[in-house]
């Protein structure tokens, strides 16, 4: 019996060893699946000077399928696509590796600002990215990075209320409809869970800035949110649209593009930006200072800024992209089905851009902890 165990162990070890060795070899597979193109390899090597590879980290399913294979074919540069689930995850990783490990990272604007302040964001060489002219002029004036010196916007949008028009007693127009729900809506509202967006409705309802660092203002917002808690179903960043579809919730706080996932399932769902105003968020591409493939990185960004790429982004995500050339090529039917795509850049820029909170961040986190415990 012991002999059998030894044989088994040896076989397993051999199999496992061979497998591990095999997996350590770079496999270049392009995925035909829905989760976006890109290779996954079982080993990563640090970038050697211009070795013709790019390491990119993005949210899953946030890159159009054909984009990376198209780029690879045209330029011969191999792209390794890593994934992160949240901004906070990739920021944590970058902090621990002191800003290294990737060539390009996709992060939201306020985090691009933080990366720049930490000295980890490389200066964008505009001369190497002619397609920057495809952007709306407004996209060059984004407060977290005016002139796009160390980041290039990829998508942008706002936050609002996503709701079931058939279930709510009256169409919501104000953040208060969420914060102080009508009796029919009690227990059927959700809010976003990430700190910046959790506090947003309260701050806007009170007339304060979404980037407020004033402790008094934050505490007022906190009190408002704690009053809401009894009528709140949950804080939810990911499943809120399916709660609308199932009827578990009547109205939820949502990013504009996410609401579209619900609209796609059930056209009784609608989106509105409350009258008090909302935020302007942007997801951006940042080239890391530690990258040794900066030229390839700029080429990649240039490729992303092509009209066809931009169109692919909108088709996939139903988010707005600041790529004017792409937006003008959009299928009008898409704009009709998803009203958020009709929001003009000038309207978007009326909303308040999210910035890094600097030293006030720990206060924010403490306040959010008070609310969520």
């Amino acid at each position: 019996m012991m002999r059998r165990i030894s044989v088994l162990a040896a076989t397993a070890a051999l199999a496992g060893g061979i497998a591990a060795c095999g997996a350590e070899v770079e496999t270049s597979t392009t995925s035909g699946g829905s989760t976006g193109a890109g290779e996954t390899t079982a080993d990563s090597t640090p970038p050697t000077p211009s070795d013709g590879t790019l390491t990119v980290s993005n949210w899953d399913a946030y890159t159009p399928e054909g984009l990376i294979p198209g780029f690879e074919k045209e330029t011969g540069v191999k792209v390794k696509l890593a994934k992160h689930a949240t901004n906070e995850d990739i920021m944590g990783k970058l902090e621990a590796s002191q800003g290294s490990g990737y060539d390009v990272v996709f992060v939201s604007g306020q985090f691009a600002e933080a990366l720049h302040k930490r000295g980890w964001a490389a200066e964008i060489d505009h001369s190497k990215i002619p397609n920057l002219e495809n952007l709306y002029p407004e996209a060059n004036e984004l407060p977290y990075d005016p002139g796009n010196k160390y980041s290039v916007p990829y998508t942008w949008g706002t936050t609002g209320i996503c709701y079931r028009s058939d279930l709510v007693p009256s169409k919501p127009t104000s953040w208060d409809d969420l914060l102080d729900p009508a009796p029919e809506n009690e227990g059927k509202v959700t809010m976003l869970a990430t700190d910046r967006w959790l506090m947003l409705p309260a701050l806007k309802s009170l007339g304060y800035s979404a980037n407020s660092t004033d402790e008094g203002e934050l505490e007022e917002a906190r009190d408002l949110l704690m009053e809401q808690k009894d009528q709140l179903l949950a804080y939810d960043d990911t499943k809120f649209y399916s709660k609308l579809v199932s009827g578990e919730a009547n109205l939820v706080e949502a990013w504009d593009g996410w609401c579209n996932y619900g609209i796609a399932e059930d056209d009784r769902i609608e989106f509105v930006v409350p009258e008090e105003g909302s935020d302007l968020w942007a997801d951006t591409m940042v080239v890391l200072e530690s990258s040794e493939n900066k030229d390839e990185a700029f080429e990649f960004i240039n490729y992303v800024l092509r009209p066809e790429s931009g169109k692919g982004i909108v088709d996939l995500l139903t988010y707005n992209t600041p790529n004017q050339a792409a937006m003008e090529q959009l299928d009008p039917k898409l704009k009709k089905q998803y009203p958020n795509l009709g929001i003009a850049p000038s309207e978007l820029l009326q909303q308040e851009n999210l910035r890094d909170l600097g030293d006030a961040q720990p206060t924010w986190t403490r306040i959010v902890t008070e609310i969520t415990s």
Binding site: G92, E95, A234, D236, D356, Q361, T369, S373
Partner: protein, 289 residues
């Protein structure tokens, strides 16, 4: 009885590999991170190397103590529930014919080879107001209206028990399985009721298994952040969420390190209790009859 052959070479061979592994990959890196608690957060994250004890003053805030207390309470509830469910399950497996035991163990462990995240989402489907469980309850007529089974303490405890049950069952199994049936019978033969025999003979003999199982459930429960986020609806943070948010959302490594230190210190107490149970096992010189 206990081998006296504890030569240096022997000790080195037995203890060396694991301890070295931990020294290099655990002690040093973690100590460096925990040392951050003595410093300060930079304006945009990062650490400012300016020695101070502010973080330790910050953590004594009632809000953090509230989170800590909630976490401890919920983890204790989960541990107790896991023990109540896990002990009979482990007993059952240990008392089946030998060839069935590994199969049953695998049966119990198999669900846990699926992503816990996916199973947690499945629980959300089951537990919500229109979910299967409520439909069954109202269908049978046990209740008139859907019961709130989700986004509350109940769902958090359920999620924790569910997530860590095999960690309770496996060490219990290992402990129960080595008991000889004769020992159990001897107690009954001498006139003890089954319950008495269990409480005074069996349970103490499996004490170290119970201690291990409880530790394996309590500790990860305390540090869990997925369950309160999803099954708890983000409405009640636990200490795991706290540490996550400090390191990732607040990008405040110094304070995050302080919270982690507090949790580890708390755990040290639990470990000490566990170590005493082990020491008592040794002193009583446990051996099969």
């Amino acid at each position: 009885m206990r081998s006296a052959r504890s030569s240096l070479a022997r000790r080195g061979l037995l203890l060396g590999p694991a301890l070295t592994w931990w020294a290099v990959l655990l002690a040093v890196p973690v100590a460096l991170i925990l040392a951050y608690s003595l410093f300060r957060r930079g304006t945009y994250g990062g650490v400012v190397y300016d020695l101070n004890l502010e973080n330790f003053e910050r953590i004594v805030d009632p809000i953090y103590l509230k989170v800590l207390w909630f976490s401890v309470r919920v983890s204790l509830e989960a541990t107790a529930a896991a023990l109540l469910i896990g002990y009979p399950a482990a007993w059952f497996i240990a008392t089946r014919p030998k060839r069935w035991r590994t199969v049953l163990l695998v049966l119990v462990v198999l669900p846990f080879w699926t992503s816990l995240l996916i199973r947690t989402y499945a629980w959300m489907v089951l537990l919500n107001d229109q979910g299967l469980i409520n439909e069954a309850l109202t269908g049978i007529g046990l209740v008139d209206a859907p019961v709130k089974l989700l986004y509350n303490e109940f769902s958090i405890v359920l999620g924790l028990v569910y997530g860590y049950l095999p960690l309770m069952i496996l060490p219990l199994y290992a402990a129960i399985e080595r008991l000889s049936p004769e020992l159990r019978e001897a107690a009954t033969d001498l006139g003890a009721s089954p319950i008495r025999s269990f409480l005074t003979v069996t349970l103490p003999l499996t004490r170290s298994g119970v201690a291990a199982g409880c530790l394996f459930v309590f500790v990860p429960s305390l540090g869990n952040f997925i369950v309160p986020d999803l099954l708890g609806g983000g409405r009640q943070s636990m200490v795991g969420n706290l540490i996550q948010t400090q390191f990732l959302e607040a990008r405040d490594w110094p304070f995050g390190a302080t919270v982690a230190l507090a949790v580890i210190a708390l755990m040290a107490i639990v470990l000490w209790i566990q170590a005493r149970a082990v020491a008592r096992d040794r002193e009583e010189g446990l051996a099969d009859a």
